[in-house]
Amino acid sequence: MAIAIDIQSVSRTYGPIKALDGIDLSIKAGEFFTLLGSSGCGKSTLLKLIGGFDRPSEGRILFDGRDVIDVPANKRPVNTVFQSLALFPHMTVAENVGYGLKLRGVSGPSLKAKVEDALDLVELPGFGPRTIGMMSGGQRQRVALARALVMEPGILLLDEPLTGLDERLRQQMRDEFGRLHRRTGATFILVTHNQDEALSLSDRMAIMHKGRIEQLGVPAQFFECPANSFVARFVGIETLLKPERIEMRDDGPHAIVAGQSLRLRSPEASLGADGLVAIRPDRLRISENIDIADLVLTVVETTFRGLQTDVRLTFADGQSLVAVVSSDSPTATVNPGTQVPLSLLPDAAMLLSGSGMPPVA
């Protein structure tokens, strides 16, 4: 049975370092939840606390309303797919998968049947007698997954499980996670630094930074209204412009960048001077007619990316943005230095707080 998790004002400090700083988070039973963040943001620490491998310095963790702080890892209804996989090198595939069941007292034909079912589930039928050394990276990944799933856990923790796999395997395993989540109905918690994984798999997700949750919600919200410039950058909104000032006009607030005006999505006009203007690349169009254009920018370079071409455009003050155009459009082959008219679709530009902003690389 899937289990709901309540994390209440949880902090974890290691000496002077605050790895987690007052986390409040409710994860629903049966949800696919992702903790997204770069390394050192506290996401793995949070996972350890849920798994029972570490204790919070402050706060409570509840499973279905029951406090589990004093329950050790081996007694929690949680199983983990470790980043390092942590397979038992001296056991066969079947022994690895069956180890947890054996500890529960399952034996004989029913143990064998369950192990075989689990190996079928991860598409490794008949691999039981092999040693771990004989398995490839992707196969080991599946063994680790089977070893956790065979326990029918209420909560499955996935700690960067796709790190170190090549792109094709990542795709395949990613699909696998989605399929297994629907099939088992358990609460899945994925920890990753890869936004594609997070966006494609999660029912809900949280972006973490410096031990805090920056934003929590369904994946689409992170694009529609990123909480701040850090979140925007993390989900792939690369263009963040520093405006000269914000003006209120009849049709709403406008940001002035290098003398040109960008119409902002209305509610966030009062953020003060440290605000940044984020521009969604998918709402930017190269227009045909220079008279009705919102902006006129200068081409710096074009980068061919197959079906699409990135066109880097610059303002008079040197700030730049990237427009994505189809590779067969005339703009894709335009020369650097050319002036290009751009139009902004509604909600293309938003004013974000600069807080949590990482140093620009």
């Binding site: 798994g51 491998f53 050790p72 890892a73 081996n74 007694k75 949680v78 199983n79 983990t80 470790f82 390092s84 942590a86 397979l87 038992f88 090198p89 001296h90 180890y99 947890g100 500890l103 529960r104 040693t131 070893r147 956790a148 326990m151």
Partner: protein, 266 residues
């Protein structure tokens, strides 16, 4: 390997290897040859006069046989205790955070105490507290000698026990004891076996401590030494030869076993 050394380099490497092996094996082989010489004076036998006389005489040498039995018994008990205690010491080392180095050096220290000093010191202390020299005193001396080596060997084998593998076992429901039995022990087994063999051999060959600490029944090295000094019959060469041949056969058997196992693994 696709890299080939030049012919010149290869020749040099072979010459060095053969010379090294000669230096190591020539003395015991010389002793082995002597043991087949029926003459009373030690020397290389002529090929026509090879004989097993001294080997036939071995079973009648009650003193040597008794010493051999004693040595094996002492070595076995020493190896069992040294392996067990070193395992505990290594587990302690793994659990310790602060004071690790101190603990490491404390366990290792007896290795650096000269055998003569340690034998004498133990003998003096045992006499002082009224413990008579016996097999137990020899074993205690040998334990001090063998344990540091066994400790290092076992500690090295702990590198195979990654922390996250123990976490994974805990994740699947294993408490500390089951983690130890199911994960740690099988992973460090090669270390335990090596530590046992190492301690066994160290004890079997040990002379100085046994010299001070043995009771009525001396160990083989002590007996061989005294016999050699008293100019006894060449049976001692036969005894040395027998031990050498047994060792070689054991090593060959082990090598064959490993070869077969590797073949089966692939």
């Amino acid at each position: 390997m696709t890299v080939h050394e030049g012919l010149g380099n290869r020749t040099v490497l072979w010459v060095i290897a053969v010379l090294g092996l000669l230096v190591i094996y020539a003395p015991p082989l010389y002793l082995l040859a002597i043991s087949f010489n029926p003459a009373l004076q030690p020397g290389l036998p002529s090929l026509s006069a090879l004989s097993l006389d001294w080997y036939m005489a071995l079973p009648r040498e009650k003193a040597l046989i008794g010493a051999l039995q004693q040595s094996f018994l002492v070595a076995f008990v020493t190896a069992v205790f040294a392996t067990f205690l070193s395992l505990l010491a290594a587990l302690g080392y793994i659990e310790l955070r602060l004071g690790r180095t101190t603990w490491f050096l404390a366990v290792l220290l007896p290795m650096f105490v000269p055998g003569v000093v340690q034998g004498l010191a133990l003998s003096a202390v045992f006499t002082r507290i009224g413990v008579k020299a016996s097999m137990i005193t020899v074993i205690s001396g040998h334990l001090l000698w063998a344990m540091p080596f066994a400790f290092i060997v076992i500690l090295t084998s702990f590198a195979a026990v990654r922390q996250n593998v123990l976490l994974a076992a805990a994740d699947l429901g294993a408490g500390r004891w089951r983690q130890f039995v199911d994960i740690t022990l099988p992973l460090i087994r090669p270390g335990l076996v090596s530590a046992f063999i190492f301690s066994f051999l160290l004890s079997l060959n040990e002379f100085t401590r046994a010299f001070y600490l043995a009771g009525r029944q001396n160990t083989l090295p002590v007996v061989l030494f005294s016999k050699m000094n008293s100019g006894a019959s060449p049976v001692i060469y036969a005894m040395s030869g027998a031990i050498f041949i047994t060792s070689v056969l054991t090593v060959v058997a082990l090598a064959m076993y490993n070869l077969v196992r590797e073949k089966r693994m692939n």
